[in-house]
Symmetry: D2
Subunit: 361 residues, 4 copies
């Protein structure tokens, strides 16, 4: 299913080489002014070939809004945004999958849809489908900002090269400003050249590299989320795994907490004026599934782009024999960079639904 | 929300010191014979104080089935199972929270429910609420076994002591048999003494220790799960984070994939007779959210039990001042051991819903 | 599915002759004081044999609350209430359906559940399952009353004997008080003797009779409900058809509107002080799926009780031949009387979910 | 919410005078061939001004399919179809509602969306939004026909002029063929002139008239639907009330059953060869919420079009005073005619979801 959400539902549609892709967002509050430049900015952060670009403006891929917005303000009716594909379908195209690419959804999609799914460019599994998610996220985060909730993510690592981690108890506004508009977002920009060299090395070798993204939701009020199955972790993870290449997620100390003692992992409470805070934030802003008022922090593991130009072994589904495959064409050697605004967007859509559940939207 | 699922919905209820706890399972297929001894066995694996026990039988905590089963066979109507609490409510109990315990849900629950939640023994946040989840899981896994789908988990690590990992391409039935009935489940039992010493050391020091659990779903047919938001990862993670103390989840190579190159991480396809398989299983049996036919493998990070007897700093919510807290009583120094069948149960409930979506239940 | 609701979910379980029946209500606001006498009262209105009773107290069928309530106040955790069955299962019972009763769910349930459903006393299809719905409704209506929303229904007709209709623009509090505690609720009590004579006549003849129930939700604020599929009509009808014997529902003028001209049916707006009202209420308090602030009014058609003692033709499923059937035992000749509080309860559960959607709960 | 469905979800978007309207259908089975001419035909039956038209082809309003279809075959990915509006938004438009039209959603929408909803042409409440529903229905009914399930509806009445009713035990294929492609669908065509005269009379007088629609779903297998809240009646009514102007629904004998005795209303079973049937169909093909194998039959009450040109009293929301209103322009004096394919479409979308629940899709 490509639909997600309760109070605010998104329904994403499209295939890489079909007529168009887009999203319907149902349940948005009415009367929310949308800053279209901000939406442009977010979408351009995800757009291919934007990494070094000077202008945040991206005409080609900007969605047309078909409904739900009047005078740049949400009407409360479902908002539909469509991005046309320029790579439109050719009539003589066979759509015949013979050699599934390793680590892609070719084989599993083939079985799931009995060979009928559109395989051109990955079809509905294409990373291109994250564009409407970024659009939806850009809409949601404007609504969240108006409620003093801000979201920022950064490239936490590329291969074995790491950025700093968020200081979980103090994430300054300037850092959020900087990261949430960055194309190669790092807390410590000094890691950039090393990361770029690693990525460039992979590209030259026809290979790719994985990485991690760390995301913070700052300003979430205390008491959001419900125990058991509508906890903050459940809700965020259930949308974040919708981002291609995500193979893991951890909140707060996450897997590191599994090696700690309770005396090391517990975060002590204290009063900062009238506000209850914790002196450390290994709990990632979530206790018992419910927000604590501290920044919500999570990290995602992104596998390396499966498209590598090195010859690989695979099968031939038409002849039922083993074979080899060479993938041609240019591919992103490190999807992590462009995935940063996608993860932020997933977090924003999750956050708006969590707020609605407790009537704080 | 303590309800989860689409085709097969579970609704868990109860508080640690209320009259009873239990679960309603709605949407089970009719005509499924239930082996009650097997349910006893699974529940006893989770029960406190069972670790060294000789008998799998546990009368006290065994649920009464109120509905949905006739002659040990599911009727298709909702199955409700209730476990009475023996620690029943005292009339004069104040239910007043003053000092929230660090890393517990005391503070967040207090805000979420405006001080009205039952705090005795953790109330609805108590680990005791995993008992009905194990019951539901034990029912579901019997139905899955009849469809040749089996589930097993083990203690992958306690602190820095690790068990072996599953061999992702070959998980023998005997291993599944052994693990799915074990109380201290390990692939390599030689790790047990060291793990026990570490846990005992924590107990003596009034401290606790975290760990990880690795779980495998074997026999899931190819083509289960849907792209984007109803992928196998989304569905499993959205229920697994309902298990207390889980702070992270990873599928297949997970976070390790984030350090790999594509050429290292991609799993090559080959024909094993007429069946498409992969020679390695870094994808954890899931590509594009859809099962590949290889074992589905995931690991969860469990934080250390928050209840430590060492004095901790916290706040006094009645006086709005900082204070200290000493937690008395006996607590499980390592929740990982008893959480193994809970994780298996979450996996079973997820699996049955995933199968139903593609009409394979 | 016996689960319903979004913000406040109910999950009803049980079979007529199983161990027990009940309901889990998940998502109730915390801190809501429950008046148990009021819950007794509502349940006794539905209870069999209560029609002429002097006392509203009914010990036998009163549910035990297992969770979600502490000191008579909701904790915010799922509320589970259980009613034990005294007619418990006999071990030697065959559960074999051979002659499906006309107009009952015997045949359809047999096919749906492949002969595995508990057929004793109707099993999960039994009218007895409306008891937990009345419990849930009684809880919800107390919460609604605290928000000045009140619900009352009456026997609008039995066979061809009619009560008055609600005056859609003026439903006084005293009428609501009277109806919402009545056992044979009529706006105009003078219809009672005639109705009773008709019912008695049916009973004597081993027959039964249908009727209609009219229900009003008074005090619902303007602007509740959403266009298309979460309109007030959609939500109410989707739960009301869960009440056995309901075969139709109409809002406001309903089917009568289908014979009117627009000039007759349209309700004109006017200002009553600062409040926009309509002078008539043929729209039933709903325009475009959204509440108008006028009383929400709907009527349900209840078919006659299918259990009649007159011999009927049916089939023998074991021999695949036509046969005849005589149903013995005492049956309610007119289910309408006892269904009144059930319809009110469905309306209350619907209303609480509608309010939550627009953050007015 | 403008989203509906579980296994097959529709998400309808658009406003009457926005850029476009459409629908996303998520969860369709893959590999379903779509006959585009049949979709044209269904959409033209609903299109304005088509009543007397000779050609079923309607270019202007035909949707562009953006995704989910390749070589006229469903891919399994979400199908998005968009219809452009030619009446696009003017920049200087004020969107200011002052005089809400009686019986329209103007006032309730104004409060619901705090004056931000697009009111031009009814906005999201416009009857124009039924076009995407007919598109979705046309897709679903082709899939249903392949499973031998057919749907047809007819104008059961206009004002007090009635057509015949369906013979509930025998609905011949030729009748279904004729009705499901008719523009003014009647079982007995002799009623047409009288109905047309009544409609014409209303038009001349600036008035409108209501009516009823009867719909049959033929070929639904036995055992579809679930007790309580996912019964066939619940599911159908929850979508049918999404069709503008519907104010009532009844299944089988419906409100007439409320005047019957059990001995009159019960439908007797018999064997027709090996198939269990009923000799009459007052149960409307549904017992206990579950299909009986007999035709599923329901009727909806449609209120008269609220737009009448006769002067009406209303309020002025800007001055808080009472006022009068004259509605100009051409309006459909009887919406029933064009609503017939919309009701059929709602039934088709409901049916496909009901089938999926029991794995019969």
């Amino acid at each position: 299913m490509s639909s997600w959400g309760n109070a605010v539902k998104i329904s994403i549609f499209g295939e890489s080489h079909g007529n168009g892709i887009g999203v319907v967002i149902d349940g948005l509050p009415s009367g929310e002014k949308l800053n279209m430049e901000q939406i442009y900015l977010q979408m351009s952060r995800r757009a291919p070939g934007k990494d070094k670009a000077a202008t945040p403006r991206l005409e080609k891929d900007f969605p047309e809004i078909l409904s739900g917005v009047l005078n740049d303000t949400t009407t409360g009716a479902p908002l539909c945004a469509v991005i046309r594909n320029t790579n439109t379908r050719s009539q003589d195209y066979g759509n015949l999958l013979t050699k599934p690419r390793p680590a892609h959804a070719d084989y599993t999609g083939y079985v799931r849809y009995q060979g009928c799914n559109d395989i051109r460019g990955g079809g509905h599994f294409s990373g291109r489908l994250t564009a409407p998610m970024v659009f939806a996220g850009a809409v949601c985060r404007q609504i969240l900002e108006r409620r003093n909730i801000r979201i920022a993510a950064h490239i936490a690592s590329v291969g074995n090269i790491s950025d700093q981690r968020f200081d979980g108890v103090n994430i300054p506004d300037e850092l959020i400003d900087r990261l949430s508009s960055a194309v190669f977002g790092l807390i410590d920009p000094s890691a950039e050249p090393t990361m770029r060299r690693l990525i460039e090395d992979c590209r030259k070798n026809g290979d790719s590299i994985g990485g991690t993204i760390e995301c913070a939701i700052v300003g979430m009020p205390v008491g959001v989320g419900s125990p058991m199955f509508y906890g903050v972790e459940n809700v965020i993870s259930s949308i974040v795994f919708g981002v291609p290449a995500v193979k893991g997620i951890e909140f707060g100390a996450g897997f590191a907490a599994a090696e700690m003692r309770g005396s090391q992992n517990n975060d002590e409470f204290y009063y900062d004026g009238n506000i209850v805070k914790t002196r450390t934030n290994r709990h990632g802003g979530i206790l018992g599934g419910i927000s604590s008022g501290m920044p919500i922090i999570f990290r995602t593991a992104m596998k390396p782009t499966p498209s590598v130009s090195i010859p690989q072994n695979t099968v031939d589904l038409s002849t039922h024999t083993d074979t080899t495959l060479e993938i041609h064409g240019r591919h992103d050697p490190c999807i992590v960079v462009r995935a940063v605004p996608v993860i932020e967007s997933a977090a924003a859509i999750a956050a708006i639904n969590l707020l609605a559940e407790v009537h704080k939207l």
